[in-house]
């Protein structure tokens, strides 16, 4: 069975210990969390955690089983093979040095990247997209000289209810 990145969406009770327990359970069993995002849902008492992990189907089933045993976990779903929308976001600062200025301006126009803040010295961009789009943006940003970057974890939503 081949390994690939799986997206797991977990509904949990919004309690202080929950994230620590999930991370501990997976870490303790040797499963790596590649990316993670967590926030409350429309009900404050319930949070949603979206995480990604690399493994084959058997490994991912084991992860799901381990998570489902936890008391504060409400539901666990593997969204990898389900029709869903994925998004990640990056905030990136590029320094507007003499040699790169024009390149950066051209790249922003060509890619239609959103400029959050800019002055003569630097520019901060916000780029949203799925993993492929973000990876592509990263590749295009690389030659422009990334001064600083923050990347969120993946969020995902099933297409139908």
């Amino acid at each position: 069975m081949e390994k690939k990145e799986h997206i797991i969406s977990i509904l949990v009770y919004n309690k202080p210990d929950v994230l620590a327990r999930i991370a501990g359970t997976l870490g303790g069993k040797g499963y790596n969390i590649e990316s993670l995002s967590v926030n409350t849902t429309t009900q404050y008492e319930i949070s949603k955690i979206v995480m990604t992990s690399i493994g084959n189907q058997a490994t991912i089933s084991r992860i799901e089983n381990q998570l489902q045993r936890l008391v504060d976990v409400i539901s666990v779903e593997d969204l990898t093979n389900v029709d869903s929308v994925h998004r990640e976001m990056i905030l990136v600062r590029l320094n507007m040095t003499e040699d790169k200025k024009e390149q950066i301006k051209k790249a922003i126009d060509d890619n239609q990247w959103k400029v959050i803040k800019s002055d003569e010295n630097y520019v901060i961009l916000e780029i949203t997209g799925d993993k492929v789009q973000i990876d592509l943006a990263m590749a295009r940003l690389e030659p422009l000289g990334i001064a600083d970057i923050t990347r969120t974890g993946l969020v995902a939503l099933e297409l139908k209810n």
Partner: protein
């Protein structure tokens, strides 16, 4: 194949009914002992690393394995690839994370053991299932031949007490009507091999974690729950020292537990592995330097007794059980006895090391 899940799920009656009705031989993990009567002719004994020869052979040669309330721990399976190679496996367990974790099974059933077995019995009855008499008899005969070829045995000649002899005597003296807790190591394995458990919830042992020092406080807990029943902790000299202070608890409340101390002056199981796999280089397992356990027991305010010869064993046990006080019995046993059979790490269940010829009859 029965495990801890049958006892926790209170499914012992259903399992017994199913096995007896369709003449299915039953083996058990350490945690499953007592879920099927140990005196029943269908009982094969424990399987696994120190399981009986015929139980391991039966599992290795069967074509259908119904595993109830087990998680296929490494102590039970031997090498996973060679476990029950010819068998279709049905696994019934409440915990989805125990299914298909170590051993991939053909039919996983997630549910309570009690309810599932009840439904299974009903299902088989509705479909009027009858096992084919001749093939079933052939199978049972084959298993019986394995049992006769390599029975569980030891050699109690001479003047040194064999630990297995103490356990068999214990069963004989108590008629098996006793709660047994154990420590961990050789004492635990010999108990599992030589003591027949007929009822669930009577064999109390740290199976999963294997915690030395578990037996004495656990025996105290059991005796508190059942003050009118006899409760025995079968211990080794290493394990008993880990929570020996609980003798004071027993003395304070007169919790009349009986400690059967199989004292060989070694950290027994570790020494056995050093004998088998490290050419007898006994690195830090010699525990000759130990307290006089009888004096120590008395210092704690419990009764201390000692037996050094086989002839004294039964007498000591009977005397201990006649006193309504906590008792520690120091049985000085053979120092370098090994638990056999043993499935060595990396081997399959059918490739057991059976010990020397002295062991086998």
């Amino acid at each position: 194949m029965t495990g801890g899940g049958v006892i926790l799920g209170k499914a012992s009656d259903e399992l017994t009914k199913l096995a007896r009705k369709y003449q299915i031989p039953v083996t058990g993990t350490l945690m499953g002992l007592g879920s099927f009567p140990g005196t029943d002719p269908l009982w094969l004994g424990m399987l696994g690393m120190h399981g009986t020869y015929h139980a391991n052979m039966a599992v290795s040669h069967c074509d259908l394995l119904i595993a109830v309330g087990v998680r296929f721990d490494d102590r039970v399976t031997g090498t996973i690839e060679t476990f029950a190679p010819n068998a279709q496996i049905v696994q019934i367990d409440i915990d989805p994370s125990s299914i298909n974790r170590n051993v991939v099974v053909e039919l996983p059933i997630i549910g309570e053991t009690k309810a599932t077995l009840k439904d299974l019995i009903q299902f088989l009855a509705e479909h009027k299932y009858v096992p084919a008499k001749d093939t079933r008899q052939e199978w049972l005969t084959e298993i019986e031949q394995w049992r006769e070829k390599v029975p569980l045995t030891y050699c109690q000649n001479g003047e040194i007490i064999k630990p297995q002899y103490v356990i068999e005597k214990l069963y004989y003296v108590t008629n098996g009507d006793v709660f047994v807790t154990t420590e961990v190591g050789q004492n635990q394995m010999w108990t599992a091999q030589f003591f027949k458990f007929n009822k669930p919830n009577t064999f109390i042992t740290s199976g999963g974690l294997g915690t030395m020092g578990y037996g004495l406080p656990a025996a105290i807990g059991v005796k508190c729950a059942f003050p009118d029943k006899q409760v025995v902790d079968i211990a080794g000299d290493g394990s008993i020292q880990m929570n020996i202070q609980e003798l004071a608890t027993a003395a304070q409340y007169n919790i009349a537990v009986k400690v059967v101390l199989l004292n060989n002056g070694f950290l027994g199981m570790v020494r056995q592995w050093q004998e088998l796999f490290y050419e007898k280089r006994y690195s830090h397992t010699d525990m000759t330097y130990a307290p006089d356990f009888v004096k120590l027991a008395e210092a704690y305010g419990v009764v201390g007794m000692r037996a050094t010869k086989p002839a004294e064993v039964e007498k000591t046990l009977r005397e201990a059980f006649s006193i309504d006080k906590p008792v520690l019995m120091d049985f000085r046993v053979s120092r370098e006895e090994c638990v056999y059979p043993i499935v060595r790490p990396g081997e399959s269940l059918s490739e057991m090391d059976l010990g020397t010829r002295e062991m086998i009859n």
